[in-house]
Symmetry: C2
Subunit: 287 residues, 2 copies
């Protein structure tokens, strides 16, 4: 493609619109400019190509033979371009909002509320899927992530962070276990054997983690349920177990020194689809 050899695209556009409508004035209306602008553009194109393209015919304008030929080419070419743009927009509008998550909160707090989002934004599909922490959102085609940020998180330059809420980590257990008279140091703890991060949290309270009896449930999804049933103590952010605490299904253990977690949305910087923005905005309303 020899772009330097082409006349200005705006003059081609003006001629195309003129050819379609058979009138400078109508073309101007379609292009959102005055008839004078169209006239000048077409005259300029004629001068550049050194070909007469249009001829006055009374109150209207007719194309010359050369103009007809050019108009056919432009019609087809610009039509293809317009169709491509339209197809892209269509595909983007339909495309599902892909959310990656590594946090329990997404599954326990966000997913149960999804019907509310669908009610407010019909036609927007949302897919939530787990994926490793250190993922490149843009490269892997995710529209956003829901993450739990520890303090001291630094924002990457190509990502935008929107905090959703800060929630303290609390130690909890079933009322029956709390009433057993056991000191937290002697309780069983529902913590996966490999979960060094949660173990370190508990260590922060002063307990000797090396002497704790750990109950490995295997799946994080079932740990809260295990705590409710009295299988052991555990940790969770307050927002997750708030309902259980209020209902008396769980009680707090009087431990201090646990961290505070910030839940946040991570969005890749750059252009953002309306559907993505809508979902991000909705997320911020439910916290």
């Amino acid at each position: 493609m020899r772009w330097r050899d082409l006349p200005s695209l705006s003059s081609l556009r003006a001629f195309d619109a003129t050819a379609r409508s058979g009138s400078f004035a109508e073309a101007g209306r379609q292009l959102n400019v005055t008839h004078a602008a169209v006239t000048q553009a077409v005259r300029g194109l004629e001068a550049e190509l050194a070909v007469q393209l249009v001829r006055r015919a009374g109150r209207t304008v007719v194309l010359t033979e050369a103009g007809e030929r050019l108009a056919r080419a432009l019609d087809e070419g610009f039509g293809t371009v317009a169709a491509g743009i339209a197809a892209l927009r269509e595909a983007e509008a339909r495309r599902v909002v892909r959310v990656t998550t590594t946090t329990y909160i997404a599954e326990t707090y966000v997913m149960p509320r999804l019907p509310d989002f669908w009610a407010k934004h019909p036609g927007v599909e949302v897919a939530m899927s787990p994926s490793p922490e250190k993922i490149d959102l843009a490269r892997d085609g995710f529209d956003m992530a829901i993450r739990a940020l520890t303090d001291g998180w630094t924002e990457r330059p190509d990502e935008e962070i929107r905090p959703l809420c800060r929630s303290p980590v609390v130690a909890i257990c079933a009322p029956s276990l709390a009433n057993s008279g056991l000191h937290p140091q002697d309780m069983p703890w529902v913590i996966g054997n490999e979960n060094h991060w949660e173990l370190a949290e508990v260590g922060g309270t002063g307990l000797d983690t090396s002497r704790l009896k750990l109950v490995d449930i295997g799946s994080p999804h079932l740990e809260l349920q295990a705590c409710r049933q009295g299988l052991g103590a555990g940790t969770a952010t307050e927002i997750i177990c708030r309902a259980d605490l209020e209902a008396g299904r769980l009680v707090r253990l009087p431990l201090t020194g646990l961290p505070v977690i910030t839940y946040a949305i991570v969005l890749p910087r750059g252009p953002r689809r309306a559907a993505v923005e809508a979902f991000a905005g909705w997320l911020q309303t439910i916290f």
Copy 2:
């Protein structure tokens, strides 16, 4: 076509060039702008479509999946446009220069010199054809006319006049006829019966045209030849019969009151092909 819905064509062009070359810098070179201009245009397009189209990959740029799809559409669309322009230019460059003429001078003076033009402008075809005086050049596809203008000619607004030369009408006859002792009033005149215009010219000298003996040769092309052979007196512009006068084949009759003719090129205003301009320029050099 909904032109208002399309992004700016220049940003589409910038993206297309980027997609072809895989580099902002190279695209800028092709478009004759800096890399920064291309970057801005592509970012603007991404923002307008709310789609990421490109992604940095080290020192170069790669298209996203959406970018690839758009690039295909643009490639095809702009390719069609470019092909249309190229075809138009090609056709215009090849097209013959059509010259219409109503004057004897074109046939006697210009056509014999055409080989000189062809030598100087190889590849430019010229077609000279007679047609009525009152023709609309643009409408009938003529590139120029060669006309004889009487004094007091007024230029039409859509035509440009380029004078070639002014030449007085002279009355001439063969030396034998001049030496016969006959007064011009009594000579036979080589003038077509229907040629009221030439008869009026002669009337301007004071002769009584109603009493003239007219010799109707039928074809204007042969009238000068008839004069040379002594069949009668006649009129012609000086430039046409100059060679005959100098060679003594014809002599001037001492009549006054004949008009002066301006030979000129008539060109339709507006865009003009290079070949047409070349022929017009050449015509001005040979007078």
